[in-house]
Symmetry: C3
Subunit: 651 residues, 3 copies
């Protein structure tokens, strides 16, 4: 399938006599795919049982007549008001114990069995009514699971579900007491019915208690998705089921949800994502009209892994959004660049959000391809350009395996939120810092789940800040013959959130003769320089053992250890140190790299290498040895520019 453009459309927002024109203009622009329906429940079922699906079929008819394919979203993220009267306790309860009300969206509790049945019911109804429609190209389940902090609910439903889940996991209360270490503060339970949720305590809960609640909550999201997946696939096994995930969002395990998806997708809003990130202010200012040069790419590669290779951008930022503290206009060209970058990383579809800016309700300040007065917004023209360029360049193929991989683990995100030990210590920050360091050299980087059982084919694999080894990953590490970077803090716990008997990093001594004796955690702003450049910050381990010291800090504390091709990093590093470590491994592994100007990134897909320029000025690239000219652009990239080189090795 050649990559294509899509758009998100809400026929229920507009007079029916506008649909035809809208569809025609979409087709003329080069749009191929249209997502509809994911917030339309109150129009599909205005009162209980009163189903009104005709209008949606008519909308699909119109779109189909113009050659457009349709993704239908199940509307379960926005149950109608009357549903609350049927199930008053389906509303989730926040960590402060307050039940959240109706009037916005995502007002449901994943643990509420009554609502889960309602969600299955409307999914069945849509599957039955629309599965045969010729324009139908697939389904989206719900919308942005977990958005607005909705993964967790501290309700009676969640408590009851959690107790049952624990009983399933541990079998006996003695096993749970052992696993959680409840003897510590007389927290021992006599039975599962005594267990409460870990909110509103006097001080912190046992970390294993918190972690299990996060695992439980994550499992409910996966179960919610699985229910819809099973229904939708039963009708049309051939049509893909998709969900649209988010940026830097880790409240549930996306790999688990990905088990019942055919395609992963995500909603890419580079400017808003940078503004709401924890990046330093100088980066936020510098890229305020572009977004972080590595953040979208990282998520492209992450969701490529979640989707087992198949992934889309379901919502692509088309201009200023409405949900940042401030919402700057993108640099001209960025809505083109972002689409090209997604295609470079293997996206099958990039779908702009939304067709026409809605003049009413919560998102009225969120741009669309059209203005509220139906005139083209700037992104309209840029989308059209991308459509033409896709056709002209004939870009195709998949984003193949890179030479570099990094393991990303949702459980580790939860673990270090629960127990940072140094405020600001995050799993994801370690993963993204390495991702960026490798990518700056033009390397294709893959993201791997912690269930990975083989690392074959990679020059270098990094496993930073991992809570605990899975059996699979331990085996993968043992059998890997490439260069492996582990640490800091990797393997510092068991799966029950306890310190391993032989201390971290909990690898066999024949692999790595090092163990972490002690942690020196540092306030934000304190840095310990490393000899040769860079510095440790936040986290610093003191180790013992016979591994070789590759780098050490000015106090003589080892920073990078090695034993054969296995490297252990003992500290959280600043950008310079992380770059040095990445560079060292690249040199050791003899991995070929590119020289890229500041702000320029690239990725290979099929027989092409796509370059994008995130900087706000022009940059010049040097053609790589494996390239044979450009099918788009050239060596000079203007701000927000894109160049596509053809690879010599390609057909």
């Amino acid at each position: 399938m050649n990559p294509m453009l899509g758009v998100c459309y809400y026929p229920e927002h507009w007079p029916e006599d506008w649909w035809e024109t809208d569809a025609r203009r979409m087709a003329e622009l080069g749009i191929k795919m249209v997502r509809i329906g994911e917030f339309a429940w109150s129009r599909l079922e205005p009162t209980p049982g009163n189903l009104q699906l005709d209008w949606m079929i008519r909308a699909m008819d119109v779109l189909g007549r113009h050659g457009l394919k349709v993704i239908v979203g199940t509307p379960t993220a926005t149950p109608p008001r009357w549903m609350i009267d049927k199930h008053p306790d389906m509303l989730a309860v926040d960590r402060d114990g307050r039940r959240k009300g109706f009037g916005s969206r995502r007002h449901y509790d994943f643990s509420h069995l009554g609502y889960r049945e309602e969600a299955a019911r409307i999914t069945r109804i849509l599957a039955e009514a629309l599965s045969g429609h010729p324009a139908l190209a697939g389904w989206q389940t719900d919308n942005e699971y977990g958005c607005h902090g909705t993964t967790y609910s501290y309700s009676a439903a969640a408590r009851d579900g959690f107790r049952a889940w624990l009983r399933q996991r541990y079998g006996t209360i003695e096993a749970l007491n052992q696993a959680w270490g409840t003897v510590f503060w007389s927290m021992e339970y006599n039975g599962f019915e005594q267990i409460e949720l870990p909110n509103l305590l006097v001080c912190e809960a046992a970390p294993a208690h918190e972690l299990d609640f996060r695992r439980y909550s994550s499992d409910q999201v996966a179960a919610f998705n699985r229910a819809q997946y099973d229904i939708l696939k039963a009708r049309r096994p051939d049509l893909p089921v998709i969900h649209n995930f988010m940026s830097r969002y880790a409240e549930f395990d996306h790999f688990d949800v990905g088990e019942t998806l055919d395609i992963a997708s995500w909603d890419s809003y580079p400017i808003g994502h940078l503004a709401t990130s924890n990046e330093p202010d100088e980066i936020k200012r510098h890229y305020m009209r572009q977004g972080d040069p590595d953040n979208a790419a990282f998520h492209h590669d992450l969701y490529r892994a979640v989707g087992h290779g198949r992934w889309w951008v379901m919502e692509q930022q088309p201009g200023p959004v409405n949900w940042g503290q401030s919402n700057p206009d993108p640099l001209p060209g960025m809505t083109r660049l972002w689409a090209w970058e997604a295609f470079a990383h293997g996206a099958e579809v990039v779908s702009y959000f939304r067709w026409r800016q809605a003049p009413f309700a919560q998102e009225q300040m969120h741009a669309g391809l059209l203005r509220p007065d139906s005139e083209p917004a700037p992104a309209y023209h840029e989308a059209g350009q991308v459509a033409r360029e896709l056709a002209e360049t004939g870009i195709a193929g998949v984003a193949g395996q890179g030479r570099i991989a990094i393991v990303y683990d949702y459980q580790s995100e939860w673990a270090w939120e629960i127990q940072p030990q140094a405020a600001g210590f995050r799993h994801g920050d370690h993963v993204r810092a390495l991702y960026s360091a490798f990518r700056k050299h033009g390397l294709d980087v893959d993201v791997l789940p912690p269930s990975t059982s083989s690392l074959a084919g990679y020059d270098i694999v990094a496993i930073p800040a991992l809570l605990a080894w899975t059996d699979a990953l331990r085996e993968a590490v043992a059998s890997f013959d490439g260069h492996l970077l582990v640490g800091p803090r990797s393997g510092s716990k068991t799966q029950n959130f306890a310190i391993p008997a032989r201390l971290g990093p909990d690898l066999p001594q024949n692999l790595l003769d090092a163990r972490v004796m002690r942690v020196d955690s540092l306030p934000d702003g304190v840095e310990i320089a490393v000899k040769g450049g860079g510095a440790a910050r936040l986290w610093r381990e003191k180790t013992e053992g016979g591994a070789e010291v590759v780098m050490e800090d000015v106090e003589g504390v080892p920073v990078l250890l090695s034993q054969g091709k296995l490297f252990y990093l003992t500290a959280s590093g600043d950008r310079a140190l992380i770059q040095r470590v990445a560079d060292y491994l690249i040199a050791e592994a003899d991995t070929p790299i590119l020289t890229l100007p500041a702000g320029v990134r690239c990725r290979t897909r099929g027989g092409f290498r796509i370059y994008v320029n995130y900087s706000s000025g022009p940059q010049t690239i040097v053609p790589a040895e494996d390239e044979k000219g450009y099918v788009l652009g050239g060596t000079e990239l203007p701000a927000a520019g894109v160049s596509v080189a053809k690879l010599a090795t390609a057909g």
Copy 2:
């Protein structure tokens, strides 16, 4: 009526045998007006129905004997403890859903019908008992409506009232669904009984939902005041009914409350108001002992508008207060300056708060004219000086119409709090910035409500950051032959908080051929320089149309557009840009200005021009051409100094 001094007095706080001495000293000092009673309910009715008004009559007798006039406050801001047993649900509920308890003040819910009846009852009792007292000069309703965030309550009473109000406003639920755009996220209602208050949602409510709740809440304040007004006026139509408003407080529409007042008043605490404002730290430091040089004046002019020309300062800061994070001593002379400045802007009465510092309870660190040991505090002597100077100078007349006017709109304050789009974007900031820019040139500035239907007589009128045009204002603009400054963001919405069909600023094209295509909102601290000086910040619009470009920024984006005498400002400006724009319009309108040293301000009243020096050092003024000498002070103003010039044109 010549301007006069007053004081706030609490006879119930002191032994009755002190009253005589207090009254004598007040009269000797030059005080003419005394406000009493507004917190005395527990002494007027110690137990339900047990009325004890004699002491208040005796206090009025004593004051009257010394020639003092009395304003009696209805005590409805502080219902006694026993009232809570009668009406447990009269206590308001905050946005987090917590009912607020007894033990401070303003512990009532404007929507609670039972308490509204109690408030009417005690008002009737006071009206009956005191209306005939010869010392009575008027009434104050309640005290500082809305103080401590009490305009809004999220109670069942408020919810029920809101539903009834919506039914009244929209007639049908379909009309409400249309107005709020509830189709957006399946938020459609089947009936008014399904509507909840917009708090404790998963994410934000529809902006029209929030705005209507603010309108509803504002209406309850107005209704509360109207009930007392009607009762008080029924007895003594000749006596004025007054309310004391606050600084930078916009939770309800003061113009609406002003409809049932004879005189508006406000409580002026310049130092505390600056300390708790959003002014930059350097301003807070620089004027820490004086207050912002334009803030009291702006409120003088605002409440002059609210009171249809009649207004007082009901509480004037007399020294350090107790409610700031810190509470600095005023610069010597400031309690004189503030009074003179109020008189300059047309105050009929300036009433110091309070006579004697209370040694007990919440405000024990709040200064009075007397210390707790009854010795004079510094402000005692300054108040005496003002009294003498009022007599000596014979200042009189009214604060006439200025050449400049600015529209201030409470609804626009609410709207941009609900939807700032750029954090920090506020209606009031735009109004005050322009106010200050014009006033620095010695110009008299009027504040106008959005119900204004004629702008006749003004050289320049500014309408910044207005949510939506009223019919009246649209007509006023169309018929205005002076210079008009509109924008940024003015007319960017309909009254239902939607984007107008033809986009903002929503004026007829023959008036202004410009429409806002897109908004570029900027993080705090990012500035886009404007050619010629100044910079855009926070908010920046990109427009299309044929209006002439007067100013543009360094990126070539138009900043000030014009079409004839109508100017449209596309951006929020820093101080320099706002000053440039004001200066440009002054030049275009050929409005004569004064040259004032830094920190010096002035206002004309009757045949006088009063100069005040907010700076911490001496300043020299140049006599204006229309002046013929000074009746107080001269060209040299010491720190905190006051000079009063006589105008040549005056009688």
Copy 3:
């Protein structure tokens, strides 16, 4: 009793067959005292009434066999889960009205009578079962009263208790109304049953209302401790009852709790305490691996006063902790230094927390003397060194009365939290600033309670920022013939939190002819320079009267007044001003001082002077005239070094 080392041990956390080895290693290391049991309730009584004390007796047997003495903690800080089913309302309610749940520790309400009986019951059971054990050396009541903000509960139990306490205190509701000044805002009560707790009000409660609630809550802690004390002493009057207090924690009156203790102790975590303090960032960075050089010492002297001379460190930081935002590793040697410093200030026992780092539950990142794998952590070796040095030097004797004393008053801590008037004004900051200024000159400083009735024997006594005079203290001041420093803000209120009739500092005029007319409170960061050096900040009083002016600021406002040997400080000072004032009094009192390098401190105990070096580099001390050589170390102190000099005057 010669000073000795102890350790905290949790036999319930480890296999019983490890106990023997643990005990042997403790004894070999030089440990003499072991605290056990304070969190073990769920093992002592796994289900209601099912008592299992045998294991604890066996653990005591093992420890005793190795010559170790045992302190048994009552386990009342961690009631087991089944207790909540018996007493669901024993869980405390926070200021926001939320009941706090089970799952961590300290989940009880001091006002809950049912739980108080349960606590007495388990105390009786332990007293009966263990009192005769030969290894038993004493008891610890509960653990860290008030930790995690648990002194205050806003429950029905607390409300009922508060009402009864008020009835006891005031007798009539009229007396309460008078004391609280409830007339101020019609807050008058008709009966005690109308009084509510001072949380969730519209604005602040009357300060006397808040202060009385704090007094009430403090009394409940004292009553809770008294109940256990009485039970434990009834069985074994000879064994000491101890409680372990905390750092910079003032929610209840520790002197009151100290009335039913034989020995005071505290838990000293210098690094965590500095990190969570309000010290400036530069101090936090500078001493990040040592802790504040005066904070541990101040608490040593404070708890020496609370324990009427007898005190321990019950928990001594052994390495990184887990509860700071970050948790740096101590400088090598600090766990030795801290112990030596405690002994210098008279500690009988310094007990490291804990024996072995627990690999599970909440504190798994908190170091112990052993690592989780039972290997020695660095502190293990440092503790052994201390044990040897104690034996070798034969240090003994008590920490005698110093020449300097400072009054510390918990009620004043509460008062200025309730009414800071200048944000950041704290009683404790004034006390600690003076403590540090005197101690930098090598002076021994005593901390005195406000109940002190004689100041005899001191050269200099300071009473800063005192709410109100007690009769005892007023008498002590009147009869003192040394140099006395009072102010700022001392005596500025009555015991009912009202301004005294003759204003502060409320001392007889023959002692001090000065009264505070007015307060100028300053924003953080604003300083008013004092002539000669230093500056006033936060708080600045303007006084009248005939006292002599010793120092004045650049505006001519008196800063230090004197009348004979009584000095009154009118301002909060920066470090430089406080040092100047201390130096001035030292010179006036002719008190001999030492010259110490930066970061070096000392204290005399018995015939020894112990020097400690908190700086991160070596320092050289000059032997004092009263010393005759060193029994440990010498004039050169490395970083974290300790030297012990023998005094010439000693036996």
